[in-house]
Symmetry: C2
Subunit: 273 residues, 2 copies
């Protein structure tokens, strides 16, 4: 089900800059009991990412209303909100006063296996590398070819996600989520200063870890360090927190930290219970 | 005027992967006397770029027919052909058998000043850098946010184009064209192994230079080298070849090589005369 600028519609203008240049941003959230979870945080991120690209952020109340209405009646679903710079002639230069396009889409719930949450998921390391650009880093923009190429590397349904690395081979994230590692009592997550998406759930987990008295270090994290970690887990706003049980040749038996954070998340937002 | 999969239509499916991920490629060509110029070369590039991204290239005869029909009756125009991976659910993973979308769009001729072709254009150097990724380099794909951000850096109508550099500060291209420099009798153009778009006109100019007995070296080209070159010129399939008269503090009086190549281009394809 799609709404474009608040109106039910299944097509977008063929001149939209989102299609021509990937000139826009998006966010994806979990719908539970007819409501979008963590909506204010998602509205924050949309606004922040728009500003990063120089797009005038849509009115927050309008977007909140459209997102909320789109979830009515949906027990469990996924909501995706796209904001593009709007329709705009030929050429990279934006119109003087562009009118951003708002696209709200509701998708059926993917029905992930319960064991992904409890026992964990299997991951691989992708060969596709992430280019680096401080001007785009952190934003969830519509230029996602690297993720498409990385996701095309495997079709084994037992592998839930792939770790993507920068050109130096340092782990950055997964194709659709963020990455955390635990070594002893230390929790760390890759720095996203040069590439990667600053996920809403990543921010929530960093906040929750702090409340639990665990610091999270944002730092360079090599694949080697991931492989010899005590625990690895991944996050995004749809899945919440998934422990990792296997990454390439490494397997992880502990998931104490992921478990603690899952409990904290379920308390913070019961829709993730 | 827009055609989608051969049918007149002004909107595309809101689930198209071109919009969601920039998951597609495009090419832009000059229309002259009712016909698209260098069409076979553009069809080659679309097919090659599709293969680079793992998209099944559309039938060449179908695409040729659609492009040709779209130009009928247009004395001068610009034609843009987009091929996306098609409509495809939620998530980066492509459907098992995606049906690529073909979007053919005709735009009015931009009416460039005659002096751009004769005396040349003014250029600036953009601050926005190009990220590097061998998997995407060379292809004219739909992930064009870097070009959008670079083009947003200036609004002075006297500046026609901006030079974009990689993270090391080496010149790669302009926001919408390729770059050539002449030092003495040596012509060079930046290597596009890690970033940049392998333009159709760039290929034509390299071929023409060869026929004229001028080699073109594809190599690393610093901004310093551009500034102290005897000549600089830029190319794309809409403009053809434009000499550069000013780049930042540097000005160029010679345009002998650009002039020779313009003549050779007009002989090769009279639509560029």
């Amino acid at each position: 089900v799609n709404w474009i600028n608040g109106v039910r519609a299944d097509t977008v203008d063929a001149r939209d800059r989102g299609l021509h240049y990937g000139d826009g941003v998006f966010t994806t959230l979990r719908v539970h009991a007819g409501a979008p979870l963590l909506l204010e945080r998602h509205l924050d991120r949309l606004a922040r990412d728009c500003v990063q690209l120089g797009i005038a952020p849509p009115d927050r109340d309008v977007l909140r209303g459209e997102a909320t209405r789109a979830c009515v009646g949906a027990e469990r679903a996924v909501l995706k909100i796209i904001v593009t710079r709007g329709v705009g002639g030929r050429g990279y230069r934006a119109p003087e006063t562009p009118a951003p396009t708002r696209l709200v889409q509701r998708f059926p719930w993917p029905d992930y296996k319960e064991e992904y949450w409890t026992r964990g998921v299997r991951l691989r390391v992708c060969a596709t590398r992430l280019g680096e650009n401080e001007a785009l880093a952190g934003a969830k923009h519509l230029n996602r070819l690297e993720q498409v190429l990385a996701r095309a590397e495997w079709s084994d349904p037992h592998i839930a996600e792939g770790v993507t690395c920068n050109r130096s081979g340092e782990a950055i994230e997964t194709t659709a989520g963020n990455l955390f590692a635990v070594h002893g009592s230390k929790v760390s997550t890759p720095s996203l200063a040069r590439c990667g998406v600053r996920g809403v759930m990543r921010g929530v987990v960093i906040d929750l870890a702090q409340r639990l008295g665990l610091g999270v270090a944002e730092r360079t994290l090599s694949v080697e360090e991931l492989l010899r970690a005590d625990e690895v887990f991944i996050t995004n706003s749809v899945i919440g927190i998934w422990p990792v049980c296997v990454l390439e040749a490494a397997s992880y038996v502990a998931n104490t930290t992921a478990r603690r954070l899952q409990h904290a998340l379920a308390e913070y937002e019961p829709g993730y219970a």
